[in-house]
Symmetry: C2
Subunit: 432 residues, 2 copies
């Protein structure tokens, strides 16, 4: 790891930008880890503390704070009675031993960008066409409660709220209990959205390499995510001869290796495969494992590549079943295609970047984001700022203060234009 | 799995043998699983219940029950004031979703064999040369608390008692707390042993294939056990390009596969390799794992084969570090050579089997047993009865009632001879 993290330093900025960097430095203290990162799993005590702090920030700026039925935290300013909202935000929850910027930057930038927009409206005496909402989506990471992007999935009607609330973490605690425990369980579906915007760190290297400050996200990679269960047979690691074994961990390990081999068949950057989670039963030193559960995903910007790779992987599954004398079942799967963000939104963002003289380029998002859900119900603008060395989901995740502030300026102007109705014609291109 | 378990049926036996089978049927109810096995982890509630029941059995036969400083449970009968004891027993704790016979048979057979010997002494009016002890060793399995064979290791001075008592399970509960919780924490080093005996199921197929009822264990396999830690780097499973990844789970999986490949280089039965336990951090669906901890063991009856295989494996470790861009450290290791049981004890057991007309043969134990520890401090007789299909550490573990009773007869006569001093000359061959 080469990234050297510099602490946020408000002294290099003035006025509202300095306040933003000060607030970001405070945000970094919630769930801070010894290694310079944060650990704020969804619904945990540090998550509760940062949410309470965010409530204070939003109320100080004159926003009314409310939680919806799945714990999404909103700061609302109704400037146009009865009109729907421009919903701007990201997520404060994190992975274990995670970086400071993933999600957190986007929520705080939203709070400041929306507050600035509201103040500008009041100052200029101009009523916008839409109301303004800051959002902190619940459980984007999915580290403690599966699936990821839970809050925005419920908000956009893709996930049933009662199913989400009864989801349990590895200790058997439900989402409902965790949300109640941190005072974040509200009711109702949340405010009605007209448009959405999100800013996030890239979590890759392409912008840094290209000298780009603002990424205009025009689509997401396609992904196939699978839960595989490898079934073997418990036996004694000492006394069972090799020929008699049905070792579930051997089969699972072969599948981990096979997933990487499939990725290696393509030029780098074309296909990503991973196994992030793997659990062994009975996981005892002297017992040949009888069951391994694993989460495997394949991702590509090219749907044909993804389909071909998926086929290769499944052929390997069948071979591994025979070679390791195990059976492998696919317990669940979750796939999404390459889907574009509304081109009118990308074009609006490009105009804003031009007007602010910020180096910009179209990019694709490899990771899922709450905006991936939002774009399916309202025109949505998704922006990136660069990640130093592309490091993410790691305590060494880093984005410079200068890029954070450039992104804030960019987001503020996007929000101003969305609130003013500049993206209205994109609404007709949505699925009904 | 082909073994069909027949429930223990006392109706096929009479007298003391029927009582033994009845008691065994009762023992099978503690921690019974739906799949026909048992789950009685060391220091758990089911372990406490079966220990209380065993106390009753031993007290009914006139034994004084006491627990030593590490929770080994003894039933003592002092027939010769001040003399040391013939210590006979095994362990009642089990693996998760385990079989009914592993350890449990040996403890109950010991209780009945020793009680019969005591009764015979009284009936015949003959004073033995040594006192009689039944033992239920604490935590032989090591499934909940590492290392395995904990109770007999402390008893034989191989493991420090305070270290053992402060060992924690995955929930942070110490051995001391678990033992106190089930009323099994005593004090002192336990009774002084003169000789030891244990009977156990084979957990392999060799006796069944050879038509052997009694295995005379003459040595144990050599073993090298390692804890490897694979170190990678956390990153995002979606956005991190393959070339940038340092995936600890990929490295660990390659090592699991490599261990099996090393075993496959030898004819079946010559070398056993296994990974029974593997834990992934942070084990989140969308994070490339940064750390995997795994327990790997190699076992062979041939020390040269073991040394060669160990060397092959360690060469693969170095290759995997490079191929997967990870570093692999060896956190702990535990090895033992091929060590013989005292030949005088094997010969005594052979004479007993002849006298009882039981088909017998010398065998080696591939698994570790409490008697493996005991033989290093006193002359020790280790006996096996057959395992149907060799299945063990599995709910389908099975030994026929007929073999259980034959083993009980065998053990009873061995205990009688040990108490009478027949193995005295073997004491001189022990290390001082």
């Amino acid at each position: 790891m080469t990234a050297t993290i510099t602490e946020p330093n408000a002294a290099n900025f003035s006025g509202a930008d300095a306040s933003f960097i000060e607030d970001f430095a405070t945000l970094c203290t919630f769930g801070a880890t010894e290694g310079g990162g944060v650990e704020r799993l969804a619904g945990s005590t540090p998550d509760g503390r940062q949410r309470a702090w965010l409530t204070g920030i939003m109320e100080n700026h004159g926003f009314r704070v409310e939680f919806d039925q799945i714990g999404n935290q909103f700061g609302l300013m109704e400037l146009v009675p009865g009109a729907p909202y421009v919903v701007v935000g990201s997520h404060l929850d994190s992975q274990p031993t995670a970086g400071r910027y993933d999600g957190a930057y986007g929520v705080l930038a939203a709070a400041h960008a929306v507050a600035r927009t509201a103040e500008a409206c009041k100052k200029e005496g101009k009523q916008p066409k839409y109301n303004l909402a800051i959002v902190n989506w619940f459980n984007e990471e999915g580290a403690r409660f599966k699936p990821s992007m839970m809050g925005s999935s419920v908000y956009t009607g893709k996930l049933d709220v009662s199913q989400a609330l009864s989801t349990t973490d590895p200790d058997g605690i439900t989402v409902r209990e965790a949300l109640s425990g941190i005072g974040s369980l509200g009711s109702g579906p949340g405010p009605r959205a007209a448009f959405a915007a999100e800013i996030h760190i890239e979590q890759g290297r392409s912008m840094e390499r290209g000298g780009i400050t603002i990424g205009l996200v025009d689509s997401n990679w396609a992904a196939n995510k699978y839960e595989f269960i490898v079934h073997g047979e418990q036996s004694h690691t000492g006394s069972t001869v090799i020929a008699d074994r049905r070792d579930a961990l051997l089969g699972a390990s072969m599948l981990v290796v096979a997933a990487r081999e499939v990725a290696n068949r393509y030029p780098d950057g074309l296909l990503h495969t991973s196994v992030g989670q793997l659990n062994v039963y009975p996981n005892s030193p002297v017992v040949v494992p009888s069951r391994v559960t694993m989460l495997l995903d394949l991702r590509s910007a090219d749907e044909e590549v993804l389909a071909e790779a998926d086929d290769l992987l499944h052929r390997r599954v069948a071979e591994i079943e025979e070679q390791a004398r195990v059976s492998i079942t696919r317990n669940s799967s979750h796939s999404w295609p390459v889907t574009p963000y509304q081109s009118e939104g990308v074009e609006l963002a490009a105009r804003v970047a031009e007007s602010l003289d910020l180096p910009h380029s179209r990019v694709k998002t490899l990771a899922g984001h709450d905006s991936t859900n939002m774009k399916d119900i309202v025109p949505t603008v998704m922006l990136f700022v660069p990640s130093v060395d592309g490091i993410s989901h790691n305590e060494h995740e880093y984005t410079t203060d200068e890029d954070l502030v450039a992104g804030l300026h960019m987001l503020t102007e996007v929000v101003r234009r969305l609130a003013g109705g500049e993206l209205e014609r994109a609404k007709s291109s949505l699925p009904s």
